[in-house]
């Protein structure tokens, strides 16, 4: 039997056009052996949630450098919950001030990564915390 593959989605919610980090991440996830769906910029939380379900991903990674994460990240979590897909892990990254971390954790974001984080750190976190299919 083949081994289960981790499927992840990297998404950029809102109007933020800083896509370099998201692209770097998509590539690094691919190199880590994951199947990566990249949605491109300017996605609404609803688009992200719907896509995650259609693609049966284990993880949604949100990237935001514009400051709108406070509003956008929790929305994605809530929409997934509404659709009965709260077993999908949601993490985030970008320009996120320290004081926002706890609010985001409380809202259901499982981890946050800021500039300067090595890609190894991120991949290791995913390998440790995300089990394909048998999630959570």
């Amino acid at each position: 039997m083949a081994k289960r593959k981790i499927r992840v989605m990297v998404a950029k919610p809102g109007l933020d056009g800083h896509d370099r980090g998201a692209r770097v991440l998509a590539r690094c996830f691919r190199d880590a052996g994951f199947e990566v769906i990249y949605t491109g910029c300017h996605q609404t939380p609803a688009q992200i949630a719907a896509s995650a379900i259609q693609e049966d991903v284990d993880l949604v990674g949100l990237s935001c450098l514009s400051g709108a994460h406070r509003y956008l990240f929790p929305q994605v979590v809530n929409l997934l919950k509404e659709k009965g897909a709260d077993d999908i892990t949601v993490i985030g990254g970008g320009i996120i001030p320290n004081q926002d971390f706890q609010k985001l954790y409380d809202a259901g974001i499982k981890a946050i990564f800021v500039p300067g984080t090595t890609l190894d750190t991120i991949v290791n976190w995913v390998n440790k915390n995300v089990k394909p299919v048998e999630r959570k």
């Binding site: 039997m1 083949a2 081994k3 289960r4 593959k5 499927r7 998509a26 590539r27 996830f29 691919r30 190199d31 880590a32 052996g33 994951f34 199947e35 990566v36 769906i37 990249y38 949605t39 491109g40 996605q43 609404t44 609803a46 688009q47 719907a50 896509s51 379900i53 259609q54 693609e55 049966d56 659709k83 009965g84 897909a85 299919v133």
Partner: protein, 321 residues
């Protein structure tokens, strides 16, 4: 509710997970496919192939739009290559179709090739069944960016669209070998570029010279001017969509649909035989160590491959010999 019933009721989560189980070769998935098989065969399957970056996804996005305007429900299977080095894959076709992601009449699922060489994933046949059983009216299958050999789409689609772009050098040379034979419709994309007319002329000449039987389908050569100009794009896409319909109607009226259906089914049976007969036997040979000792024999010239294969058949496939 049984998994198969949920699929029939159109449940996207269940469907996407089933497709995943098929990709991951989970044995239980086969049972569900058996269950839904009687409910398949209704959807129109359209294949889109062509060189990397030719605009396949952009065209699928446009075709989704025209289908939705006709109130058809749509399934999309978009295949991208798996990296042979890491086993990972970037599935990027979806980016071009995101405006439809919230439309509940549209189900888009990306697939990685996972080592398949024909331009598709080995799960694609069953994935089509899944979307078909969900009741999708049309299913678009986008292959990976192809060269010349990746013609497997022919086994799955009623209609194959081959997308070409001008100015890529020896397009004609490339399509002569293989892709040419599988096209039901040619599309020249980015036709606002230099060389589009020349390409169109060359293609048409080639089609004229090919041997189309009397009453057969002559592949039309359409153009799409520029996907960045919405009105032009929509207009060109309507023409394409109408041609796809025309080809489907032609298959039905000329009774060729039966032939295509048979071709699809034969291919599926071939695959199933490989899966149910060949693979278990190979697995057995590996497990018992027979395979190794046979290779030894061949190296020492104590036997030959054909004799060994006959030996295997006598041992494992009683009744055949």
């Amino acid at each position: 509710m049984e998994r198969g019933d949920k699929i029939k009721a159109g449940d996207v989560r269940t469907a996407s997970r089933l497709i995943r189980d098929i990709e991951d070769s989970i044995p239980e998935a086969k049972a569900t496919i058996k269950h839904i098989f009687p409910y398949t065969g209704k959807a129109q399957v359209v294949g889109i192939t062509g060189s990397p970056g030719a605009g396949k996804s952009t065209i699928v996005d446009g075709l989704i739009e025209t289908s939705r305007k006709k109130e058809q429900t749509v399934g999309v299977l978009a295949v991208d290559p798996t990296s042979p080095f890491t086993g990972g894959a970037t599935l990027g076709d979806r980016i071009r179709m995101q405006r439809h992601s919230e439309d509940i009449g549209v189900f888009i699922r990306s697939l990685a090739t996972r080592g398949s060489l024909g331009g598709l994933s080995k799960a694609v046949g069953d994935a089509i069944h899944v979307m078909d059983a969900m009741g999708k009216d049309v299913i678009f299958v986008e292959t990976v960016g192809t060269g010349q050999q990746e013609v497997e789409i022919i086994h799955y689609a009623h209609t194959v669209i081959v997308v070409l772009v001008p100015g890529m050098g020896d397009e004609i040379q490339a399509i002569k070998a293989g892709i040419m034979e599988i096209a039901d419709i040619f599309v020249i994309n980015k036709a606002d570029r230099d060389g589009a007319q020349k390409l169109q002329r060359e293609l048409m000449t080639m089609i004229e010279m090919s041997h189309i039987p009397p009453g057969g389908w002559k592949p039309p050569v359409l153009t799409i001017r520029n996907s960045f100009k919405p009105e032009e794009f929509e207009q060109d896409l309507r023409t394409l969509s109408a041609k796809v319909r025309e080809h489907y109607d032609f298959l039905i009226s000329s009774d060729l649909i039966g032939d295509r259906q048979k071709r699809k089914r034969l291919h599926e049976l071939n695959e199933a035989i490989r899966f149910s007969i060949l693979e278990p036997v190979l697995e057995m040979l590996v497990k018992t160590g027979e395979l190794d000792s046979m290779v030894e024999k061949l190296v020492k010239k104590e036997s030959d491959p054909a004799s060994l294969a006959e030996e295997i058949a006598k041992k494992y496939l009683q009744g055949c010999f």
